[in-house]
């Protein structure tokens, strides 16, 4: 799952180095509009529906945070 998420992230922002980032939001690798695009991809590829209230920066700071979001959205 981790590799799949990294691929989605790289497709969203090809110029960003997600693999070596500590915090995607703090390091400005993702902005709020990237989160929106990302949600569309995650919902499609993992067949989930992410609750609107979960669309907060804390859930997109790392691959681990995104995995937790996916798991809680199943």
């Amino acid at each position: 799952m981790k590799d799949q998420i990294l691929t989605i992230l790289q497709d969203t922002r090809p110029e960003s180095d997600f693999a070596n980032s500590e915090n995607f939001i703090a390091e400005s690798l993702l902005d709020s509009f990237d989160m929106v695009v990302l949600i569309g991809e995650l919902e499609e590829q993992f067949n989930i529906s992410i609750d609107g209230a979960d669309v907060v920066p804390e859930n997109f700071v790392s691959v681990e945070a995104i995995i937790r979001l996916i798991d809680s959205s199943r």
Partner: protein, 354 residues
């Protein structure tokens, strides 16, 4: 706060849209983002075209055009207007009020009330509540509720956060005294979160100056000045998703209505993505929530609810009465909803401002 009325009804509605249409593909040329990223966003958010005023067109210009259409087509007798409420965040002047400008230009009677309200995306509900309050007076039998904004003049074209979704428009809603029409409303406000949607400069706190007009990189590739609208997209999204569902649940409880009683939901139109999430969270069919206003006209602030009524729902509103749930949410922060029967309206139409 819960409010209940049974003294007024919506009789007619006119939507005025600028004739000039701009496409997102044209907007993209001003952004500092790769084209592929903007195109992905276009699909998810529902960006396509938006209606914008040209040059120096002001709020009152759209409204006066609308009233003249109603007068000349004999849909509205100008002497019947006892109160004019103008809800806007883009007034013609600091002073006088835009309602006074409109009254003067249209030569409306003097024995009337002119009132401006500074509100945005919840402005149709807030204005409607004010109109119903005024209609409790014997001498006020008809209120013209105007919602209008030309916010494109306060958004930087290089700000991809805000510019592609913004639209300009005006609406004129005629609200008449009427007994026996039950209307339920609720509203909440939170000024502690006021900076989520803000134009920092131009008021007395920070007057406009060459310094405030300087366009700067906001740090995320968007460019704007302190004279321009600034929106914290993430904060606004979270505000809508956390505050609006309980608001709708509360109005359902207050009115003792359920989803099966509601013909359609006329919600404020921030963007398609946000509305899809909201409909899902509320557990209502997406088909009952029109969500294409941003795609066709842009988010025109307090005019979005009238835009839904006058375009998506107009044929139903002209034909028969139904129960509708309206909700607005935005600047302030303010969130408000209303359940009321609407229809058959005397008029419900859309015209262009040349």
């Amino acid at each position: 706060m819960r409010l209940k009325f049974d003294n007024g009804k919506l009789s007619g509605l006119l939507l005025v849209l600028p004739g000039h249409e701009q496409s997102f593909l044209d907007d993209m040329k001003n952004f500092e983002f790769p084209e592929s990223r903007s195109l992905k966003l276009m699909k998810v958010m529902g960006y396509d075209k938006h209606r914008l005023v040209k040059n120096d067109v002001c709020s009152s210009d759209l409204v006066i055009h609308g009233f003249r259409h109603l007068f000349s087509s004999t849909k509205l007798d100008k002497d019947s207007i006892d109160a004019l409420i103008v809800v806007t965040q883009s007034p013609d002047y600091f002073m006088p009020s835009t309602s006074s400008v409109i009254q003067g230009e249209l030569d409306l009677k003097r024995d009337m009330l002119c009132l401006d309200i500074s509100q945005g995306c919840a402005g149709f509900i807030i204005g409607f509540i004010q109109a119903l309050s005024l209609l409790s007076q014997d001498c006020i039998r008809r209120v013209a509720l105007v919602n209008v904004d030309v916010m494109s003049r306060k958004v930087n074209p290089r700000d991809r956060n805000s510019y592609p979704l913004i639209g300009d428009a005006a609406s004129i809603a005629i609200i008449d005294q009427s007994s026996g029409t039950e209307i339920w409303a609720n509203l909440k406000m939170d000024g502690a979160r006021r900076e989520a949607l803000m134009i920092p400069a131009g008021g007395m706190r920070l007057p406009s100056s060459p310094e405030t007009a300087k366009v700067e990189d906001s740090g995320d590739g968007n460019f704007r000045s302190k004279d321009d609208l600034r929106m914290d997209g993430s904060a606004v999204f979270n505000f809508v998703q956390t505050e609006v569902p309980p608001l709708i649940a509360d109005i359902m409880d207050f009115s003792k209505k359920s989803d099966s009683d509601i013909r359609a939901y006329a919600f404020h139109q921030p963007n398609k993505f946000m509305l899809e999430k909201l409909a899902d969270k509320l557990g209502i069919a997406r088909e009952k929530v029109p969500m294409d206003v941003v795609e066709r006209f842009g988010n025109n602030s307090g005019v979005t609810i009238p835009t839904v009524l006058a375009t998506n729902l107009s044929s139903n509103l002209l034909a028969s009465q139904g129960l509708y749930c309206l909700a607005g949410f935005g600047v302030g922060l303010t969130w408000a909803s209303m359940i009321m029967p609407i229809g058959p309206l005397e008029f419900c139409e859309q015209i262009d401002y040349p």
